[in-house]
């Protein structure tokens, strides 16, 4: 579904990766590995169309993503190092607006349930500015609970979460993969991603391993 062909990304005068090719099918999860600075974030952002690769092509259902633009955007959910949370809005408002921007409106009811599930009960009505680091991450990740996009691109989603939240998120990701979703993620933490087909992709050592 998502095809990467001969991708190359340069930053400054450092070539992060080149001749990178792989495909991501429905029901698959790719776990991207690599040491700090090996280009994981860069690759994920390029996959979403946020960065223009130096050369190579990224295809969605066969056509290049820069020709698809908004059409492709409707199919991706990206959660990066930054949470895209507005400190002045409440968790509830943040979630509702985020999913509207993702292209589908959700009811307040639905949003409440998602927030409760992710462990923010009692914090829905505070401006997110005052929440703790981990709670802010949870608000950002709540998007995944109400989301319908097939492709999830997650850049270190487990950072700052406590153990309970990590467990919950693992479950959510596994469900998505089981429901024929596609996930591409990176994390330095040891988490077990076992459901569905999990493939490992290694950056930064010149090697490209499948498992």
């Amino acid at each position: 579904m998502l095809e990467v062909v001969n991708l190359e990304c340069q930053r400054g005068d450092r070539c992060l990766f080149s001749e990178l090719s792989f495909t991501l099918q429905r029901g698959e999860l790719i776990h991207l590995h690599g040491h700090n600075g090996s280009g994981k974030t860069t690759l994920l952002r390029a996959l979403c169309g946020l960065i223009l690769p130096t050369s190579g092509e990224i295809r969605w259902q066969g056509s290049a993503i820069d020709s698809l633009r908004e059409e492709f955007a409707a199919n991706v959910t990206y959660i990066g190092h930054k949470g895209a949370i507005k400190g002045g809005l409440t968790a509830l408002e943040n979630l509702q607006i985020a999913s509207r921007l993702d292209g589908f409106a959700i009811t307040e009811e639905h949003a409440w349930r998602a927030l409760e599930r992710i462990g923010l009960r009692g914090f829905e009505d505070l401006p997110t500015r005052v929440l703790s680091q981990g709670q802010k991450r949870r608000v950002a990740l709540a998007r995944l609970l109400v989301n319908r996009a097939p492709l999830w691109v997650l850049d270190e989603p487990f950072v700052a979460l406590d153990r309970a939240a990590v467990g919950l998120l693992q479950g959510v990701i596994a469900d998505h993969v089981a429901n024929a979703g596609m996930v591409m993620l990176t994390t330095h933490q040891e988490v077990s991603l076992t459901t569905g087909e999990v493939r490992q992709l290694q950056l930064g050592v010149g090697a490209l391993g499948h498992a």
Binding site: V76, T77, A84, I85, K86, L89, L101, D102
Partner: protein
């Protein structure tokens, strides 16, 4: 499509309303700049009336620019901008929504207070009317043009001032026609021609500015 426009409009207005101080502050900035001049220049009424339209317009321009310079900055820093780029809607539309929200919360109050300030400078009723109309037509253009600069300088250190450098030249025509209309009315020439030009600039800006800003944002967000 309209839904997203409305959502974003509502979000930005809500955010602005939550920090009400912000709203008031922009207005006060305008008032203070206009009121500074008599202090810097001296209290002669004849001189003051002469320079009034120019001063009000320059103050409006500065207030717009100052408030506008960071229109995308917050979204950029907290990652919302990335998400906007990944929205299944044309980016230009989202930008239009943001600019509209911005104008509603900063531009409109400024237009409403202007006549009061004009009175301080002893402007006639007719001149005041023209002043309001020019501001109504001109300030949205300022916001739109400013958005391009804000998008271009996003994430750059000292972007604010660089932005001013890039945008001010482009807003000068608005300033000239805006102040010119009031002066033309004062001298009995009639400012209607200037008003048409302001309107034309607004239409052009409405069409082109969101597109240019969208292109710039895609680059800056990278």
């Amino acid at each position: 499509m309209l839904d997203i426009f409305r959502t974003l409009l509502w979000r930005d207005i809500t955010l602005a309303m939550r920090s009400r101080a912000d709203l008031v502050a922009n207005l006060f900035f305008f008032i203070i700049v206009v009121s500074l001049f008599p202090l810097g220049i001296g209290p002669e009424m004849a001189t003051l009336r002469l320079i009034a339209p120019g001063v009000v317009w320059v103050a409006a321009l500065l207030a717009s620019m100052l408030a506008l310079e960071r229109i995308f900055a917050a979204d950029y820093e907290d990652g919302t901008l990335e998400q906007m780029l990944l929205t299944p809607q044309p980016l230009a539309l989202l930008i239009l929504a943001k600019v509209a929200a911005h104008w509603l919360v900063t531009g409109v109050p400024l237009v409403l207070i202007a006549p009061v300030l004009g009175l301080q400078y002893n402007l006639s009723g007719e001149m005041l009317q023209v002043l309001i109309v020019t501001l109504l037509l001109g300030t949205p253009s300022l916001s739109l043009i400013g958005a391009i600069g804000a998008a271009l300088t996003l994430g750059l250190r000292g972007g604010g001032v660089l932005n001013a450098l890039l945008v001010m030249p482009l807003t000068i025509p608005v300033l000239i026609f805006g102040a010119g209309a009031v002066e033309a009315t004062a001298s009995g020439l009639g400012g209607i021609g200037h008003l048409y030009l302001l309107g034309a600039i607004l239409l052009a800006a409405l069409f082109f500015a969101p597109l240019a800003a969208a292109a710039a944002l895609r680059i800056s967000a990278e």
